[in-house]
């Protein structure tokens, strides 16, 4: 295991891979800093640039964005009190009070070093668990795959902030999108209404870019129209004793490990992401603390829990995509699309068939962390100037990159039309309060669900096999349990607080 990993370190350190990794990490940090620009949006912007690169170079750039983005959000969270992205929300609770108290450098570097250490601890899990989990997944037949995908969808639908019903409906709409076009078994056109545009169905990436980019940009435009603009601040003094900060983190080993484990576990679960991980880790840190009343006043524990968990979350998401071929969140969903463009199919056979790329991903993930530290050190003060760039300048440029990303997939305008169509769909979904994550997972898994369902039934017509085969039955039972738990959770929350308007991307 470690031999190929060290070889991959040498490879990723070559300029051809290292430059995209550094640029990706820098772009991720900037994207993380900008309030309202999520990591998904940042990775969508970077996506077209990866088309012309070697597959590993493209993936290194995306991993850089992912790691950098998770760390960049803490800058605006701590200095402006505005989370740069959803996975830095909990950092705001203690980072901002600490910065306001006159310790902005301590707040930023506690978060940065906690991200670094949490991320590297997550790397042990990534490197150690991906192979065994992929070997386990090799035992899967079509019954198990079908049940796994159903489980993934039910989990995502249940864990969205909107109601369970809306989560399930959103997932079902995603699946319906995939039945438009030519059917995968007999090549019969379905629901095309005689249109050439619909004949080949919708490619996954234009759908994803359209839905996520427009849902976010148009919601931002509503805010611009309402006159809401981000505050700007002068660059503060971020000087700090790094050894003292690192000691502050390492002197709390239980907090650090537990937050890392929470991040990993949330990352492994499909499509939940860092936004849940950081809040959950913060909540756990508060519950187990000897002085919970101090949380929210600017104590290091809150920052460490949040930042260690959201970076280890990246490792968990990468495990899921590499071992099972299921994206751990929206960011890995875009990475999945990029891998497909390069002819790489993640899943149980990925490690054995593409060891060069798999170990390259491990190496890029690990190397992205020291790169992130160096960039944060060089640029932390500069980022705050970027926050002042008006949205009126950023939005048109982002939309141009979205168009290039969709068009460059196979140089056809049909993908750009699909981008426009699903841009409208994405915005409408947000306005109707339907969560986007289940829909995207439905679009990603739709074809595979159908193929495995049909394959299973053609192999043996007995539908009870889905329940009687142990792994398949176990996962279907887990699906039911996750739906029941979600129902119970939603009911409890509903009693505790009335529903609020939500824009759950």
């Amino acid at each position: 295991m470690f031999g190929p990993l060290f070889t991959s370190f040498g490879e990723v350190l070559q300029l051809q891979y290292f430059v995209p990794l550094v640029i990706g990490t820098a772009v991720g940090l900037v994207g993380g800093v900008l309030p309202g620009v999520t990591i998904t949006m940042t990775i969508i912007i970077v996506l077209p640039f990866t088309f012309g690169l070697d597959p590993l170079a493209g993936l290194a750039a995306m991993i850089g964005v992912y790691v950098g983005g998770e760390s960049g959000g803490l800058v605006t969270s701590s200095l402006l009190g505005i989370p740069g992205k959803p996975s830095a929300v909990a950092t705001t609770f203690d980072g901002f009070p600490m910065a306001r108290r006159g310790e902005p450098g301590r707040a930023i570097w506690l978060g940065t070093w906690a991200s670094f250490i949490g991320g590297l601890l997550g790397a042990f899990f990534l490197v150690g668990a991906t192979g065994p989990l992929a070997a386990f997944a090799l035992q899967f037949g079509p019954w198990e795959y079908f049940s796994l995908f159903v489980f993934a969808l039910s989990m995502v639908a249940g864990l969205t902030e909107a109601s369970l019903l809306k989560g399930l409906l959103s997932g079902a709409i995603g699946l319906v999108i995939t039945v438009i076009g030519t059917d995968p078994i007999m090549a019969v056109p379905r629901f095309t209404f005689g249109s050439d545009f619909l004949q080949s169905g919708f490619q996954f990436l234009p759908v994803l870019i359209g839905i996520f980019a427009f849902a976010q940009i148009m919601t931002d435009l509503e805010r611009i129209a309402a006159g809401t603009r981000p505050d700007s601040v002068d660059a503060p003094d971020l000087k700090v004793s790094h050894l003292a900060v690192i000691w502050e983190i390492l002197s709390r080993p239980v907090l650090l490990l537990w937050s890392t484990i929470i991040g990993l576990l949330i990352g492994v679960l499909p499509a939940i992401g860092g936004s849940a991980a950081n809040v959950m880790a913060y909540d756990q840190a508060k519950k187990f603390s000897k002085h919970p009343e101090k949380f929210g006043t600017g104590i290091p524990e809150g920052i460490i829990a949040s930042e260690a968990s959201n970076n280890s979350n990246v490792a968990g998401s990468l495990v899921t995509i590499m071992a099972f071929g299921i994206p751990g969140d929206a960011v890995t969903a875009v990475m999945l699309g990029a891998m497909t463009i390069h002819g790489i199919q993640p899943g149980p056979l990925f490690m054995s068939q593409q060891p060069h790329v798999a170990y390259g991903i491990f190496a890029a993930y690990i190397l992205a962390h020291p790169v992130m530290i160096v960039l944060q050190w060089l640029l932390a003060g500069v980022y705050l100037r970027i926050v002042r760039v008006p949205k009126a300048i950023l939005i048109p440029q982002i939309l141009v990159l979205c168009v290039i990303g969709a068009y460059a997939l196979n140089n056809v305008m049909a993908n750009v039309y699909a981008l426009l169509l699903f841009g409208v769909v994405g915005y409408l979904l947000v306005k109707f309060g339907l969560p986007l994550a289940p829909l995207i997972l439905g679009v990603i898994l739709g074809d595979q669900i159908e193929v495995n369902l049909v394959r299973a039934l053609m192999t043996d017509g007995d539908p009870l096999l889905f329940l009687t085969r142990p792994i398949s039955g176990g996962m279907l039972v887990l699906s039911v349990v996750s739906v029941v738990l979600a129902l119970w959770q939603h009911r409890r929350q509903h009693r505790a607080a009335p529903a609020e308007p939500d824009t759950d991307f």
Partner: protein
């Protein structure tokens, strides 16, 4: 009816329409599962979920949270400008369409009032086109749309 009810009703109508359309899908003679098998199950589930959303909305009538008023003018304008851009791309090509799109959208989102602001809009539009065009075409070997009318 709140937005949940409207969403439920729209999805119910859509899934019932597609279920009706799926009747025309052929049933193969040799294999038991045809192209309509999976879509019918799926659309049945979608219709049931949509109906449940609609019913739950009607059940909760009068208990919907208040939502802040939203200004849709910029959203509609942005969608309109983007739509024109998408349809201009194959006609006038990436370079002309992108300069027009970036300039018009930026000027719409933050109307320039001084000569300096207009210069910034122009620089941003031309700069965006030049950087992306040369980066993608020359360095990343990604071909961008050519215009039928302009020839480039």
């Amino acid at each position: 009816m709140s937005r949940d009810g409207v969403a439920g009703l729209a999805c119910l109508a859509g899934s019932l329409l597609l279920l009706w359309v799926s009747r025309a899908l052929p049933q193969p003679a040799l294999v038991p599962i045809g192209p309509g098998f999976y879509p019918r199950i799926l659309l049945g589930v979608t219709a049931a979920l949509s109906a449940a959303l609609l019913v739950s909305d009607l059940w909760r009538r009068g208990r919907h949270p208040e939502r802040p008023p939203v200004n849709y003018r910029l959203v509609l304008l942005a969608f309109g400008i983007f739509t024109v851009y998408v349809f201009l791309l194959p006609l006038v090509g990436y370079r002309v369409a992108t300069v027009l799109f970036v300039g018009v959208l930026q000027a719409t989102l933050d109307p320039p009032r001084t000569a300096r602001a207009w210069a910034l809009v122009a620089a941003s539009a031309v700069g965006c086109m030049l950087v992306t065009y040369y980066l993608f075409e020359a360095y990343l070997n990604v071909l961008l749309p050519r215009g039928r009318l302009t020839g480039f």
